[in-house]
């Protein structure tokens, strides 16, 4: 026990002697969480506040194109820049001057009205209200609104814009149909006989409370995800610390001393575990006190702190296990640092920190179940977002503990085999 405590004391001395390194260890994760949350929370806001300039080529110049143009203007997402020529619009988008160009085709209004009239008179003729006209045999060409996106535009933005335009076109189409019916039935268009507003709407409610309040905000999502990312980054300084011992020759001296390798690792585990818990507590403090000052949603930790610390404790253990294994195997910083950094990013990616697991391909979903970051993230989401009790997080924290035991055991066995005498 004495050897373990002195080992931990030595690790503490080593950490505190490198104040720059210690500051980086605590400040960088905080900076990461602030940056990510600010970006995610403000993306939509900034789009609304700073309209995105897009090109509109109106080859129709009719009622429908006017309606689309007005809708785009009213959506407050875009600043419409008129362009007369499709080719020059393409060039400007290709060069990256504009994110998007919308081309409204020639005769859009005329052909859409013709198509609707054809459909409406056809339906009314079926009911015997009207006689079949020549219009029913007319072949009307389908219309295509062309969208040119800058190749550098992200998929999420493209799909969001496409959805919005699709929704707008559908609304215009259905309103035109209602209007055509009304005209065919001989009613005054100033007094609509159809309710053109959407009949079905949606309402988001938290499942276990049946209330709209308490819907998780971006902070509730970001703090656990990025805290976990930061906790796992501890494997980097830990493995570098171990590689340094090998390079300084101190590890050689330790190998000649009557001290088990497990005790050496134990000392490191104690100190780096405390570091990861402090990191996590700082993240919570940040979410509760600093985020509201920055205009971000406040982190709600009411009644959750003990469970959160339990999850952080076991996530820290799993990260330390990885660090101990990497530090045992790596021979130089050139091996441990790039591998550690890349591996944490891979674990985060397959663990669902960036893209939710349910949105991944089937194979990656299976793979994500093997990522300790996924277990940690699920446990954090259980506590933060699903309001569960201790018993519900037992499977995840047990997996994290088991991961620590297995990685540390591999490190000890590897060291024994490599240094057997």
């Amino acid at each position: 026990m004495h050897k373990l405590l002195v080992s931990a004391q030595k690790e503490f001395w080593l950490l505190t002697r490198d104040l720059g390194g210690l500051a980086v260890l605590f400040l960088m994760p905080l900076l990461l969480v602030i940056t990510i949350t600010l970006i995610q929370d403000n993306t939509f806001k900034s789009i609304q506040e700073n309209k995105i300039p897009i090109l509109l080529v109106d080859l129709d110049k009719g009622e429908v194109s006017n309606l689309i143009t007005n809708n785009l203007k009213e959506s407050s997402l875009f600043e419409i820049v008129d362009e007369s020529n499709e080719t020059s619009a393409q060039d400007l988008v290709q060069k990256g001057d504009y994110q998007l160009a919308i081309i409204l085709p020639k005769n859009l209004t005329k052909d859409l009205n013709l198509k609707i009239d054809q459909n409406v008179t056809g339906i009314l003729a079926e009911f015997g209200v009207e006689e079949k006209s020549e219009l029913s045999n007319l072949k009307i060409e389908k219309k295509e609104i062309r969208l040119y996106f800058d190749p550098a535009t992200q998929r999420s933005f493209k799909s969001s814009v496409k959805n919005n335009i699709d929704k707008m076109i559908s609304k215009i189409e259905s309103q035109s149909i209602y209007k055509a019916f009304q005209e065919e039935l001989g009613e005054e268009s100033s007094e609509p006989i159809f309710d053109m507003e959407s009949f079905i709407s949606f309402n988001e409610i938290v499942p276990n409370t049946d209330k709209q309040e308490g819907i998780p905000n971006s902070t509730q999502h970001n703090i656990p995800a990025w805290s976990l990312f930061a906790i796992f980054f501890i494997m980097l300084p830990l493995s570098i610390n171990m590689v340094n011992e090998k390079n300084q020759g101190t590890f050689i001296r330790l190998r000649t001393q009557p001290i088990p390798y497990a005790t050496v690792l134990g000392g490191k585990t104690l100190v780096f575990l405390v570091v990861s818990l402090i990191q996590f507590i700082l993240m919570l403090v940040l979410g509760v006190y600093l985020f509201p000052v920055l205009g971000l949603p406040k982190l709600d930790v009411t009644g959750r702190i003990p469970l959160l610390l339990i999850v952080a404790f076991f996530a820290g253990l799993a990260a330390i296990g990885l660090g101990l294994l990497l530090g045992t195997i790596a021979k130089s910083q050139e091996q441990s640092a790039p591998f550690g950094a890349t591996f944490v990013v891979i674990l985060a990616a397959i663990g669902g920190v960036w893209v939710p697991v349910f949105a991944m391909p089937a194979f990656m979903q299976t793979l994500s179940k093997l990522s300790p970051m996924n277990w940690g993230l699920n446990a954090f989401y259980d506590v933060f977002l699903r309001n569960v009790g201790f018993s519900e997080i037992i499977p995840e924290i047990s997996s994290l503990l088991l991961f620590f035991i297995v990685t540390t055991a591999i490190a000890i066995i590897y060291n024994q085999r490599k240094n057997a005498v």
């Binding site: 004495h2 030595k10 080593l14 300084q248 020759g249 050689i252 190998r255 001290i259 005498v421």
Partner: protein
């Protein structure tokens, strides 16, 4: 004290043996100088005796113990002063000694006083609270030495303990090692300073190409070699003047 029988070591991918069928007996209370040119096998032998590397074949015991059956006891019995400084540069001299001493199970007031005493004897009492990275080479060597002897080992292995230090540090180190030997510590030491070995060692073994080529007191070896006045002449006569570069 140390009994070595038919000890051989061939490193992985090496085309020759670093040690070959080495037999050697070092008695209790000796200051044994293990001499030889670069790549002769000195550090390999010390590393095997300290339990850092495994021999390819052969056996050895220290005070009747071997690593296979009494690893922990044996580690407690020996002390090592490696060629590298083997210290944490960002820790103070005291912290380094406290940590490495504690790993031998030392603790309490007596242990802390022992650190102070050793720092004092080796002229470092003013520098106990200074970080090792600010020390000169000679000061680091002395702290390195203290880290290997705090637990009062029965056998002390020193791999070139005076390399790269000034005359004052070298004298302080050698004087202190003599003092330790007088108290009963058996010393096995490697060096390229043959004059130092001649004066310091009670027995000397010259090793070359992994084999022991002569053994005896410095005086005996000088007498055996015709026309030789110092150990250095004996050494050159036995190992030749050809450069021994290796990689």
């Amino acid at each position: 004290m140390i009994q070595i029988e038919q000890l051989s070591k061939k490193y992985k991918n090496a085309d020759h043996f670093s040690l070959l069928d080495l037999d050697l007996k070092i008695s209790s209370g000796e200051i044994f100088g293990l001499l030889g040119p670069n790549g002769a096998g000195k550090t390999t032998l010390i590393s095997i005796l300290c339990g850092l590397i495994k021999p390819t074949s052969g056996t050895f015991t220290i005070d009747g113990l071997d690593f296979a059956s009494a690893k922990k006891k044996l580690k407690q019995l020996i002390g090592i002063v490696p060629q590298e400084y083997a210290l944490y540069p960002s820790l103070t001299a005291y912290e380094n000694l406290y940590y490495f001493g504690s790993m031998y199970g030392l603790k309490g007031k007596i242990f802390k006083e022992s650190i102070d005493k050793h720092l004092d004897i080796l002229g470092l009492h003013k520098f106990g609270d200074k970080k090792v990275k600010s020390f000169s080479g000679g000061m680091k060597r002395r702290v390195n030495l203290i880290a290997g002897i705090l637990h009062q080992p029965k056998v002390l292995f020193l791999d070139e303990p005076t390399v790269g230090v000034d005359v004052q540090s070298k004298t302080a180190i050698i004087d202190y090692l003599r003092e330790l030997n007088a108290k009963g510590t058996t010393i096995v030491y490697t060096s390229h300073h043959l004059n130092e070995a001649e004066l310091f060692c009670t027995n000397v073994g010259i090793i070359d190409h992994g084999q022991l080529i002569c053994l005896g007191t410095p005086k005996e070896l000088i007498q055996k070699e015709e026309g030789a006045k110092h150990l250095e002449e004996v050494f050159l006569s036995l190992t030749g003047k050809a450069l021994r570069d290796y990689a």
